[in-house]
Point group: C2
Chain length 333, copies 2
């Protein structure tokens, strides 16, 4: 049988467990030109929260009754005359939260597990890694010597953003929740400092670690931390709006009260969606792979097991109880 | 005697009349290398409200006990060996709200009143005009065919922004307060439409007049109108943060709740301060003058009389009871 997670209602604030329903349906029979993928891992991302809202966005909302959208990686176990994919190929794509994927191959691409393990293709070599890469280089436009502040610094995107900024010669300060994450960010990932927003004052932390202010703020969280970062912008600073995890479950979004700092400092706040950079993913992934081999870029995946545990794992996106890329193993062995 | 308006306290919300004190002091005796200017007109600008706050900004705050900062235009009536300025020269500069200005000439420059009357040099050929010019062209980066929305459309900056956008082949929709201003904006200035925010729904107005959304929003007001504009951004839209008059007298600034529209639409919100473009003022003023002579650019000044009437005139900046550039004539005849 194919266990599939179906979206059955639209959540208003933080989704309840009954937002989705786990169904067991027959494994699909593929048609001509299609493949059947056995899913190994499903990617859990904060963006999922946005895809559940019934409003115009960069992707259409997941429909009620549809399999929950998610990035996936798995193995082709059947091919019905597919022109490019054959049995045994490992495909990364948008398969959704389910154990078997029937597809004509659109929005799936083949990866080489001799170069990196499957999980990396959903992490540093996948969407979060690409988001970090294009976000900090193309939108943040970092220059050697810049002071870069990154929220969600122990997360899948933030951890890579900070390391790329270090590679490019910036001073990098992270913001993360808890001493353990901050230690990881500084001692393992090589950030210059990390502010523990759960136990320390973010205001004092920025003041201490960025005494001259901030050239680039990479925002994954929104809310109060975005406001504090705005208060410390330097002239011509760039604020990259990548996400706003503090606001995703809020009915009433908190706007940045300090946005007039953009005026005073002739600064720019710019949003990004990684899908726009698809044509350059390959070369970015090669560069990221090089940095990983050279030991300059370290990434972690936090893997949980069992499609039945989707909901508890999903909650970790918002309660902060995870480190690096959050994945769910859905293959049963 | 020299009547001078002195800042005597820092206002918290809307300034009271006793925020300033009108003093009569002796006309200053100038030193070697200085000139004495007899002020004709003082410029009243929303930015004045910001200069009164004791906080880091693009200019230092006006000190308590100091003459209130303002743009001025006046005539040199005495020169003590000044290297460039002589008696009879008309100088525009930062003279402050006073009838006589003692200066070494720094931050004053000579203008030609044969080309345009004095008042234009504080309006379309002065700071507001330059703000409009560089704001819409350099920060807004308008292209032919863009849909441009402008708040404060009947004001000194907004009225010029919209006309430049029309000259460049854009569709231009204004937002202004009251039917009379809206009629002026459409019938006199040639905007395609104008939304009367005092009597009509801005949401419905944008929806009607910008059915495909907005490419550039030029914001002079902040608050709810900024939020509505954000909700209608098109892909890669640009939001120019020029001012936020609705927020200047607020103790608690309202941040734009819809800022995540920047993310969804890969849009940019950028602040500007006109002083950064000083090296290009001359060529911009020449271009503006050309458009004025060709009848493509119309500007108005709303002139009040008497330095004693500063406070009532200042209030017009915020209650909307003015049209075009607000000026105070301080010379006594």
């Amino acid at each position: 049988m194919n266990k599939q997670l179906i979206l059955v209602k639209r959540p208003v604030a933080m989704p309840d467990a009954d937002t989705w329903e786990l169904q067991s349906n027959p494994i699909p029979t593929i048609g001509d030109g299609e493949v059947l993928i056995k899913t190994h891992y499903v990617s859990l991302d904060p963006a999922m929260r946005g895809w559940m809202m019934d409003r115009k966005s960069y992707l259409p909302p997941v429909a009620i009754g549809e399999v929950m959208r998610a990035g996936t990686i798995g193995e082709v176990i059947e091919s019905n005359n597919h022109p490019t994919f054959k049995v045994g190929d490992i495909l990364s794509g948008w398969g959704g939260v389910q154990q078997y994927i029937q597809t004509n191959g659109e929005r799936h691409f083949k990866v080489d597990t001799n170069l990196a393990p499957m999980t990396k293709y959903l992490g540093s070599l996948g969407m979060p890694g690409m988001t970090a890469y294009f976000g900090i280089l193309e939108v943040g436009k970092i220059q050697e010597g810049d002071v870069v502040l990154v929220s969600g610094a122990a997360g899948a995107v933030g951890s890579v953003v900070g390391q790329i900024a270090k590679i490019k010669g910036c001073t990098v300060v992270g913001i993360a929740g808890g001493q353990a994450k901050c230690d990881y960010v500084v001692n393992e990932l090589g950030f210059d400092a990390c502010i523990d927003y759960k136990n320390d004052s973010v205001y004092k932390g920025i003041k201490e670690h960025c005494p001259k202010g901030i050239d680039v703020y990479f925002d994954n969280v929104g809310g109060e931390i975005l406001d504090l970062a705005l208060a410390f912008l330097r002239m011509h600073a760039r604020v990259v709006i990548c996400g706003a995890i503090s606001q995703y479950n809020s009915v009433d979004v908190e706007g940045p009260k300090n946005y007039l700092s953009l005026l005073v400092n002739r600064a720019t706040m710019q949003g990004m969606v990684v899908l726009d950079y698809a044509k350059d993913y390959r070369s970015a992934a090669m560069q990221m792979g090089m940095w990983m081999m050279e030991g300059k870029l370290k990434t972690e995946e936090d893997v949980y097991d069992g499609i039945e545990n989707f909901y508890e794992t999903f909650l970790r996106l918002f309660n902060g109880d995870k480190r690096g890329k959050l994945l769910l193993k859905v293959i049963e062995e």
